[in-house]
């Protein structure tokens, strides 16, 4: 048992100013084993692994490789100990080819394409990867980029692989493929560490699970001897209910009807192709699809942010009056009193102003209602305090810049603000992306609460398991077309996965 231990981290502590990101953590990484690192947002998983990758230096504690203490001062050092990390935000140069990225920084390597290609090919054959070495990174899909990252790490001879939330951006099929690769690596005696929020993936893939909570090491269990409930309890520190409640609203009614919505981007590519559906008040309508199938354009064209080529979007009042939304600017839509709230995918880009605090961000929604020259700060301050308390936002104060908060808390601020505007349509794009289980469930509950208040909720998501539990109906997009709308109560994941790829031609990038 002892001889397959690759890395030992002993009482590692890392601080960022006041924040103790890692507090006396002990962790052992073994060869021939897949270890899941589990923990809520901000529990210090990335920080801990970054210390192995040479990005950060521990303030206290010791790292042992094969029993001997080592110092990892830079990513280069990490490679020399066989440690390779695939970061959450890929470290690739967009304008370089795959091959150039793979050999970047290797001093003994000539820029000789033949040798590089043959070595790359050997790695690809072993794990049945398919990459085109001459293709530029900006032409690649997310999963292809990830493959390049993995090949890059293997090319450098890494036998300890760390993957930081690798599945967050992959489709179920792509995730499956990745897992096959990781299992093959395990067979080869490599040590694999994977960080993920998704418990079903943890259960499916890993041999052992180590749990962190608020920077502290909580414990380590064998996957075969645990279950999602136990893991969640370890992560959160108290027991949480893992079921998503799906109550039925007494009488759903048509709220928003989209007909033949077609959008073309500035390069002439059709992003939405005659999309039609009706969103009901008192219902959560899920929107599923491979990343980039038109989800973003759909939400943005309904909210008046994206130019529409043709089609109509009509909003129905309770009394049957209807309003056409196409052709109106977001401001005009708001003036009509439609009551539309939008939680965009790009939280800090489109949703919030990073350098302002909670109060300032609350004000963005209401500043026009202030009278006179000066801003009315009282009511936004009040709202900020309310969101802070109700949603348990972790922040030192309501004026603390939201950019510095962790992802989950940023999302809570945004959702809290949007819900506070008492919308009748609530549109959310990947509202739980990058959030831990506990916060995700908070968000799910908030959405269900809205639905039971008669709001038409549109939920663009990526985790099909969750969507099948949370939504009432699921609309599946494929290449900008609607490939179908299914009843979430009796649809299956496989069925939806198939619909995501079936209508229209397959993306060229998938064929390689």
């Amino acid at each position: 048992m002892q001889n397959n231990c690759a890395i030992q981290m002993c009482s590692i502590t890392k601080r960022f100013g006041q924040v103790v990101a890692n507090d006396g953590i002990n962790l052992e990484i073994r060869r021939g084993e897949i270890l899941s690192l589990l923990g809520e947002n901000g529990s210090g998983k990335t920080t801990l692994m970054n210390m192995l990758a040479g990005i950060y230096q521990p303030d206290e504690g010791e790292i042992l490789a094969d029993g001997k203490p080592i110092a990892i001062r830079s990513p280069k050092d990490a490679y020399s100990y066989g440690i390779g990390m695939i970061h959450q935000h890929y470290k690739l140069v967009d304008v370089f080819t795959a091959a150039q990225n793979i050999v970047l920084g290797l001093n003994d390597e000539k820029l000789d394409l033949k040798t590089i290609n043959s070595k790359v090919k050997r790695i690809c054959d072993r794990y049945s990867f398919a990459i085109a070495p001459e293709r530029k990174i900006y032409d690649m899909s997310v999963s292809q980029k990830q493959t390049v990252e993995i090949v890059k790490v293997l090319y450098r001879g890494a036998d300890i692989l760390i993957l930081d939330e690798p599945t967050a951006v992959l489709t179920p099929q792509e995730t499956e493929k990745l897992f096959v690769v990781l299992r093959a690596m395990k067979e080869d005696g490599k040590a694999v560490v994977i960080i993920t929020h998704k418990l079903n993936e943890v259960m499916e893939l890993s041999d052992e699970v180590a749990v962190l909570r608020k920077g502290k090491y909580i414990g380590r269990v064998r996957t075969s001897e645990t279950n999602p409930q136990q893991l969640t309890d370890m992560m959160v520190g108290h027991s949480v209910v893992l079921n998503i409640d799906r109550p039925e609203y007494s009488d759903p009614f048509p709220r928003l009807t989209v007909e033949d919505l077609t959008c073309v981007d500035h390069e002439g590519v059709t992003k939405l192709d005659h999309v039609s559906f009706t969103a009901m008040g008192g219902e959560i309508l899920g929107v599923a699809g491979i990343a980039g199938s038109g989800q973003k354009e759909l939400l943005e064209s309904i909210t008046g942010l994206y130019p529409v080529k043709e089609g109509s979007v009509r909003f129905f009042e309770e009394n049957g009056c209807e309003t056409e939304l196409i052709g109106k600017t977001p401001m005009q839509i708001r003036r009509t009193g439609v009551g539309m709230a939008f939680v965009p995918e790009d939280r800090l880009g489109m949703g919030l102003v990073g350098s302002m605090g909670m109060t300032g961000n609350m004000m963005l929604r209401s500043w026009r209602s202030g009278k006179g020259l000066f801003l009315n700060k009282k009511s936004p301050e009040h709202l900020a305090k309310k969101v802070w308390n109700d949603l348990e936002v972790v922040t030192p104060s309501t004026s603390f810049p939201v950019r510095r908060m962790s992802g989950g808390n940023v999302q809570k601020v945004l959702v809290g603000r949007e819900i506070a505007s008492r919308p009748r349509i609530l549109m959310t794009a990947y509202p739980v992306r990058g959030l831990d289980i506990n916060t995700s469930y908070t968000i799910y509950n908030l959405l269900t609460e809205q639905k039971m208040g008669g709001v038409a909720v549109v939920f663009v998501g990526e985790d099909l398991d969750v969507m099948l539990e949370l939504c009432d109906r699921i609309l599946v997009l494929c290449g900008g077309k609607v490939s179908g709308i299914v009843d979430a109560r009796n649809a299956t994941k496989e069925q939806i996965g198939l619909m995501m790829t079936s209508v229209g031609q397959r993306r060229a990038s998938d064929d390689e």
């Binding site: 990005i55 990390m85 470290k91 140069v93 967009d94 304008v95 990225n101 970047l104 500035h266």
Partner: protein
């Protein structure tokens, strides 16, 4: 016809000045550092380059002075002045991680001040007039190609009638192109400018690359200032002619889409735009309009290139952003 050729030749002379400024700044920007101090750097290059040659001539005497040595001294002093100014900029932005725009603007103010001071100081000390002897002046504008080539009708004047600095600048542009595209060091430098965190994770020494590119780039830009003083200005300190040239070089970098080969024709074009008011005078158009032409062209190019959304024709992705490994 002959007036057209004259315009072209004059454009090349002024374009050469711009080419050095631009090539230096391209090198700097490829490392992700946006050095807005080019204006100041070129001033310093002009003043110190002239001071170098002038001091040399005074030290050895007019009769004993050698043109080639004077040129080398001028180049070396100008380069050193630009390199030192850029080292200051590099220390503040790379090591201390201060805002690049602010630091660059400060360097422009500092550099124009130092350049002016040096130039004026020399002038006053020499009793109101610093100039090199005619013998050395000739060396700086010496046409390197033999007369039978220069005498070929039309072609001769267009291709072979320029001074050495022009041909050296072209060689430099080609060498830089080769360096960026074909060498490993060049590729690493580009990766630093595109995505420093990627380069860092790949084990590339970011700090070293950024410093070297910034210092050498600043040195090259400074040579442009020296070339202006020793050719166009006739080896006399002339601060007015240099004013705005550095900014033009910064605009030209954008116009060239960060490609050294484009800098060759781009500089000549900008050179032409700059001297047009002297040569192709249309009575009712004020000279000020002529003088903003290069900037208008740059804006138009910027608009078009961003509309086309071509991933290859973009600034280095991390341009203007400082890198700190532990920052998130």
């Amino acid at each position: 016809m002959s007036s057209l050729i004259a315009l072209l030749v004059a454009s090349v002379t002024f374009g050469t000045v711009l080419m050095y400024g631009t090539l230096g700044e391209i090198l700097t920007e490829k490392s992700g550092n946006l050095n807005l101090g080019v204006e100041g750097i070129m001033y310093m290059g002009g003043a110190f380059g002239l001071a170098g040659a002038f001091t040399y001539e005074k030290a050895v005497g007019v009769a004993a002075s050698n043109g080639f040595v004077a040129i080398v001294i001028a180049v070396v002093t100008a380069f050193a002045a630009g390199a030192i100014a850029s080292l200051i900029y590099g220390f503040i932005t790379i090591t201390l991680r201060a805002n690049q725009n602010v630091t660059g603007l400060a360097l422009t103010i500092f550099g124009t001040g130092v350049g002016q001071f040096t130039g004026e100081f020399m002038r006053v000390r020499e009793g109101g007039y610093v100039a090199l002897s005619n013998h050395l002046k000739g060396a700086f504008t010496f046409q390197i190609f033999p007369s039978f080539l220069r005498d070929i009708p039309v072609i001769g004047r267009i291709l072979f009638s320029h001074n050495a600095f022009f041909y050296i600048a072209i060689a430099l542009a080609v060498a830089m192109h080769f360096f960026f595209q074909k060498t490993k060091t060049g590729m690493y430098l580009r990766s630093v400018g595109e995505s420093p965190s990627t380069a860092d994770a790949a084990g590339i020494n970011i700090t070293k690359y950024k410093y070297l590119a910034t210092i050498i780039g600043g040195g090259i830009s400074a040579i442009g200032g020296m070339v202006y003083i020793t050719t166009t200005a006739g080896c006399v300190w002339n601060h007015e002619g240099l004013s705005g040239v550095g900014w033009l070089a910064v605009a030209l970098v954008i116009f060239c889409m960060w490609r050294p080969l484009n800098a060759i024709w781009g500089s000549i074009l900008f050179g032409a735009l700059m001297i047009m008011y002297l040569r192709v005078r249309v009575a009712f158009i004020p000279t000020e309009i002529y003088k903003i032409l290069p900037y208008i062209v740059t804006v138009v190019v910027l608009v078009f290139s961003s509309m086309r959304n071509n991933k290859e024709k973009q600034p280095p992705a991390s341009l203007g952003v400082n890198y700190f490994r532990e920052e998130r």
